[in-house]
């Protein structure tokens, strides 16, 4: 099995696994934000700002997996 087949199988699986982790993390973060808004609707502006910033930081780890995908993408195919 040459390295190109392994790359072609492994890279999308890697990105998919990173997406699972990001989905779980973002679900928890946004869920807590929704709960907090439900408790105190007048603090919605601050809570949403913090939620967006937190979501961008959680998303960054999935983006690292995507960057690795872009780095190795050109090596598949002769």
């Amino acid at each position: 099995m040459d390295y190109q087949s392994m790359l072609a199988v492994g890279l999308p699986i890697g990105v998919g696994l990173a997406a699972i982790g990001s989905g779980i993390g973002l679900g928890r973060a946004v869920g807590s934000a929704m709960e907090a808004i439900g408790r105190q609707p007048e603090a919605m502006g601050k809570i949403m700002t913090s939620m967006i910033i937190g979501a961008a930081l959680i998303e960054a780890l999935t983006i690292y997996a995507l960057v690795v995908f872009f780095l190795l993408y050109g090596k598949i195919g002769a």
Partner: protein, 271 residues
């Protein structure tokens, strides 16, 4: 009436992107830009296309600011009002994090935010290219932030307190024994900060570009079945998503730089 104007703009921009997209590169799907079409990849400054577009963004930004500053009046006109809104909003936002002395760091951090925002948004205009879709541009911004925060810590704390802060601030015997370990951990944290900043911005912008380009290709593929050379504009919702993501990523970059500068300043609790 507004709906007609909006829909014509959407259709014309998707036509433009679809017609331009037939000459995309091979390795990853990418939409061509005006400079790339006029001069090509090997033509006049073809290799430095990111620098050209980044300079274009800075020149537009600078000309706008200088023009408003030269004719500033006590009762502001529309453009001056808008720029004052931007600057004051940035200052209020930074004051909630940095405290009273945010005015010293507002020029750098505010410029960083608007520069990254304009760079990201340039890629969404048909015929434009976002320089932040290149790892070199984001890495240079991250290195700049790293050097500035280290310089701030060095000058604000003094040399001895800076090293003390690096070593994890040992206070008693247990602190001094653990000092080498804490030093290594602290150094790795410091190095990983600009790396994560650069990769986050690069990944988000490049990912968004590739997403839009892939959907443009798909739109052309759909319409090729009926032999029409114009693509179906299915990339439009993703351009809206990209506008949101660009703004959020510029904000996150600026916010993290602010927090890194805040961590270097003397805080209450430790002298």
């Amino acid at each position: 009436m507004k709906l007609i104007k909006f829909s014509t703009i959407v259709i014309i921009s998707s036509l433009a992107t679809s017609v331009l997209a037939t000459e995309a590169k091979e390795s990853k799907p990418e939409l061509p830009s005006i400079w790339g079409i006029l001069f090509g990849h090997e033509g006049f400054l073809g290799h430095y296309i990111d620098i050209v577009y980044a300079l274009l963004a800075s020149v537009i930004f600078s000309i706008l600011s200088i023009k408003v500053y030269k004719n500033r009046q006590l009762i502001p006109g529309k453009l001056q009002n808008f720029l004052e809104l931007c600057v004051e909003g940035m200052f209020n936002f930074l004051t909630t994090i940095l405290g009273k002395d945010a005015i010293r760091y507002t020029p750098f951090l505010g410029t960083l935010f608007f520069y990254i925002l304009i760079n990201n948004l340039m890629g969404l205009v048909p015929g434009g290219h976002s320089p932040t879709a290149n790892l070199n541009v984001t890495a240079s911004l991250a290195i700049l932030v790293f050097l500035y925060s280290q310089y701030t810590g060095f000058t604000k704390l003094g040399a001895k307190a800076y090293l003390h802060h690096l070593a994890g601030q040992p206070r008693n015997i247990a602190g001094w024994v653990l000092m080498p370990l804490l030093l290594i951990i602290h150094l790795v944290t410091e190095i990983s900060r600009p790396v994560s900043l650069a990769l986050r911005l690069y990944g988000n912008t490049m990912g968004g570009d590739v997403l839009v380009a892939a959907f443009v290709g798909l739109g052309i593929l759909i319409m090729s079945a009926v032999h029409i050379p114009i693509g179906f504009p299915i990339q439009v919702p993703f351009i809206f998503l990209e506008i949101l993501v660009s703004t959020i990523q510029a904000l996150v970059f600026t916010l993290l730089s602010t927090i890194y500068i805040l961590l270097m300043l003397p805080q209450e609790g430790h002298p």
